[in-house]
Amino acid sequence: MAGSSGRRSPRVVLAVGVVLGLLYPIPLQWSGYTYFQTVGFLVLINAMLGVGWNVIGGWAGQFDFAPQVFFAIGAYTAAILFVHLGWSPWLGMLAGVLAAIGICALVTYPLTRLRGHYFAISTVAIWMIAQPIGATWEFINGSRGLFIPMQTGQGVLGSIASLQFVGRTKALGYYYVAFGLLAVALWLVHLVERGRLGFYFRAIRDDQEGAEGIGIPSRLYKVIARSITAAVFGAGGVLYGFWALAVFPEQVLDLNWSTLPIMATVVGGIGRLWGPVLGAFILIPISQIMSTTLGTGPLAGRGIDLIVYGIIIVLIAALRPTGILSLPWSRWARGLMRRRASARLVGRG
């Protein structure tokens, strides 16, 4: 009995989470104050990126500090195809994901000769190379970037098809698209984790020589892991570009597109499917709420939100380095249920 409830309870939590997630923006829509819908959008997009980063960082154990390069590649690919050729953003997303995977595979293969800190440093170097390219390449308008012309006067279906939500429904529309993309990312990464890839990634993380000794080509699987991460970041970049209606280097190559997802993953639970979701749910609202509440008061502009961030990270690193999800939640839940059951018995007696 305890075993079956142990399996069922995560599903109940998941179902409740999905329902709450789907209902969340509706009262906000009525009230007309859509700011918290945008906060929700940022939570979801960072959660999605964290879910993607978990593949290279959590399972394959390779610290990739520059996945934002693939975020930028996705955003630019879809924006160029839309602006110059009039491609649908969804086709653009497919192209952006494929471009991110292709470039990632080409760039990452040589880097996999490096291990540990050196691999991490080399990923940062790739980001540093990407910045001047983004700022000076005339084909993508250099540092001015690309502006995505706004399309107004579409119905609901038209807005979904063109990935453009304007006016009063803007925050609402992008919230649900991000929700859907996060669900897709979770599902894909779940399949990866459960399958042969997940086993091989973790084997390489735990002992690369040991993994090679049982026939796992470690370099190939590191490339595959990072390419999956790149695919998720590519899709995220497309979504963000159309939300922002602009793609320019300083924005899509911003360091925050790696630090926030990585921090969300570490805080929530690295190497756990839902870790980044929980982490983003904690970290992003704190940052947003802090910057709006303290941003106007006497403490304005002092980066209080960043200080709180720092403190949370330090606390979790010190108290629970494997993340919040690694705490014995199911045991606590079972204990709580048992206490309630015994309380009922006592009441009856």
């Binding site: 459960r194 399958g195 042969r196 086993f199 091989y200 973790r202 084997a203 993380r205 735990d206 002992d207 020589e209 040991g210 993994a211 090679e212 000794g213 049982i214 026939g215 796992i216 080509p217 470690s218 190497g271």
Partner: protein
């Protein structure tokens, strides 16, 4: 018996140090060969050359007709050589079952099949009760046993054991020897066993190869090798001869 592995005058240098000097040896299908020698004799280097973790500077290594002199470890594994390590290399954050599943996935692409195969191997190696334990929490003896199970999961024809019994208690050593005998007897694998403990390797091996200072100094049945003067001088010492 058909020759499975053939090492032909392999030389391996690390800078000025010659770790293996024109070492030749052959292992037939279904044979147990003991590889002995004092510390630094070049036993592990030879294993590394055979399994592709390092490559010989000269000489050739042929396994089942394929030249593997310059092959990568994953190719050597695919051809049918599995190994264990002197310092264990289990996947510490994965469970015992998951460790073995990783090995089985090479021949069974579907996780379900690999899992079934892994469970049978845990049964065979006596680790079935530990299936859900995280590998880092095992005793050394069980870690070494797990490495063997994981290696067997790749379905090799030749298993190289690098000091599978070092650091074990006498009881654990006896259990490990028993396991090696069953791998040979029931699975019919060829084995090459590097070992320091003479009492273990001598009765276990059908043939013993002795390395000293990177060179092969003797080869033959255990009973002959222990009487070989060069071997006694280099490695076994007067003590062992006295006891015969």
């Amino acid at each position: 018996m058909a020759t499975l592995l053939e090492v032909r005058s392999v030389t391996k240098r690390f800078g000025g140090l010659v770790a293996n000097k024109e070492v030749s040896l052959a292992i037939s299908a279904g044979e147990i060969v003991g590889l002995i020698g004092p510390n630094g004799a070049g036993k592990t280097t030879l294993f590394n050359c055979v399994t592709g973790y390092t490559h010989a500077d000269a000489g050739r290594i042929v396994f089942a007709g394929a030249d593997i002199t310059r092959a990568r470890p994953e190719r050597v594994s695919g051809l049918g050589i599995a190994r264990t390590w002197q310092l264990v290399r289990t996947f510490g954050r994965m469970t015992v079952l998951e460790n073995v599943v990783c090995g089985a996935l090479k021949r069974h692409a579907r996780v379900g099949e690999a899992r079934a195969r892994a469970l049978r191997l845990l049964e065979f190696t006596g680790l079935a009760s530990r299936e859900d334990v995280v590998a880092a929490n095992l005793t050394l003896a069980d870690k070494k046993r797990l490495e063997i199970a994981r290696a067997l999961a790749t379905e090799p024809r030749l298993l190289l054991l690098d000091e599978a019994m070092s650091g074990l208690t006498p009881a654990e050593t006896a259990a490990a020897v028993e396991l090696v005998r069953r791998i040979h007897g029931e699975l019919g694998l060829a084995l090459c066993v590097v070992e320091h403990v003479m009492e273990v390797v001598m009765p276990l091996s059908q043939r013993v190869v002795v390395l000293d200072d990177g060179e092969k100094i003797a080869e033959g049945p255990p009973a002959e090798v222990v009487r070989n003067d060069a071997v006694i001088k280099a490695y076994l010492g007067e003590h062992y001869r006295g006891r015969r």
